[in-house]
């Protein structure tokens, strides 16, 4: 079934950019994938010849720890990420070890609350990890909620703080920007997928968060970020 595009705005020059991390340290340059290349491979090898390939094996880190050293040996053929249509993303695990994914789309598919689950994707599996339409709906809802909260907070601050702070709208303006700022970070999180090679995190593993895993990537999805920009601009008082 052909669906109309989420937006008629021209697409981005690069459909995603990928940052590589070891624990909480970013290693190497950000890798950008042109929109003319719908499929990209992120693997553990050293020679990036042949198509869109981000080879993590060639990246050096003088402070690399033993855990990263070991885990990197198992990345192997890594993963393939494929953009379908306007901006949905499918992933294939080509490694002979599982990859662990943070994805709001998979949270929903698994019937979990957003951000609640860690998704283990087995070797050989090929699954959808991102849905642009769902993301767009989610960001519209969240933006509206954040906006309403900020407005309510501003009103509360204006009404509750006596004295010069509330005069001329100074205190309300601070309240509004703080609440809106928190909202934007949450919204940007909707536009990315993170995945850890080999090692999992969360209550089932000895690592609390993905930023404690030995080798992981963050994939920024540019079409979704573009849509977010439009959603934010459409809000009243977006530039307050």
């Amino acid at each position: 079934v052909l669906q109309p595009p989420v937006s008629t705005h021209p697409g981005p020059e690069f459909w995603c950019s990928i940052a590589y991390f070891e624990q909480d340290v970013q290693v190497g340059e950000i890798f950008k994938v042109p929109s003319s290349c719908p499929s990209v491979v992120v693997d553990g090898y050293v020679d990036p010849s042949g198509g869109a390939r981000f080879c993590l094996g060639q990246l050096s880190n003088v402070q690399r720890c033993a855990a990263s050293e070991r885990a990197r040996l198992h990345i192997g053929k890594g993963v393939q990420l494929e953009r379908r249509g306007e901006g949905d993303v499918w992933m294939r695990c080509r490694s002979d070890h599982a990859v662990f994914v943070q994805s709001f789309y998979l949270d929903r598919e698994a019937g979990r609350a957003p951000g609640d689950a860690v998704h283990k994707v087995y070797p050989g599996a090929h699954i959808k990890v991102f849905d642009l339409r769902q993301c767009h709906r989610q960001m519209q809802q969240q933006a509206a909620t954040a906006q309403a909260a900020a407005t309510a907070q501003a009103a509360a601050v204006a009404g509750s703080i006596p004295g010069p702070g509330s005069v001329g709208g100074i205190a309300p303006a601070i309240g509004l920007s703080v609440a809106a700022g928190l909202g934007v970070d949450d919204l940007r999180r909707l536009c990315l997928v993170r995945l850890s090679f080999v090692k999992g995190w969360g209550p089932d593993y000895p690592r609390a968060s993905i930023t404690c895993t030995p080798c992981w990537i963050e994939v920024h999805l540019h079409r979704a970020l573009q849509l977010l920009d439009h959603v934010l601009h459409a809000l009243p008082d977006a530039h307050a």
Partner: protein
């Protein structure tokens, strides 16, 4: 436990592991792997015997709380079974990896066609 002792004596058995639905280590005895469903892997924890396909579903870890599993199929056991980590970087690594690969291919479709 008797079988384990026997296997170690024959010398050809080697340790394997998987990380499916919980982690598990076992001893793979090639001499017992004569048909696809033959129990040829002994769990190092409970000493139970398993075929490769049932071994990747066997584990002693408590069920996951937050982890959702995608794309696990026990028939793909050859994708999940590895030599024990302890062999990595040792002189045995190469030989054992090769031996395990041979075991994975022994009853694979590819080989079935070749022998027909």
């Amino acid at each position: 436990k008797n079988t384990l002792a026997q296997l170690k004596e024959t010398g050809s058995a080697f340790e394997v592991e998987h990380e499916c639905l919980g982690k598990c280590q076992g001893l793979f005895a090639p001499q017992f792997y004569l048909a696809p469903d033959d129990p040829c892997i002994q769990c190092l924890e409970c000493y139970g015997m398993f075929s490769p396909q049932t071994f990747v579903m066997h584990s002693h870890r408590s069920p996951d709380k937050r982890t959702c599993h995608w794309g696990f199929e026990s028939a793909k056991w050859h994708c999940y079974l590895h030599i024990n980590q302890k062999y990595l970087g040792t002189s045995e690594e190469r030989e054992l990896k090769h031996l395990l690969e041979e075991m994975k291919e022994k009853f694979s479709e590819k080989n079935q066609k070749r022998t027909r």
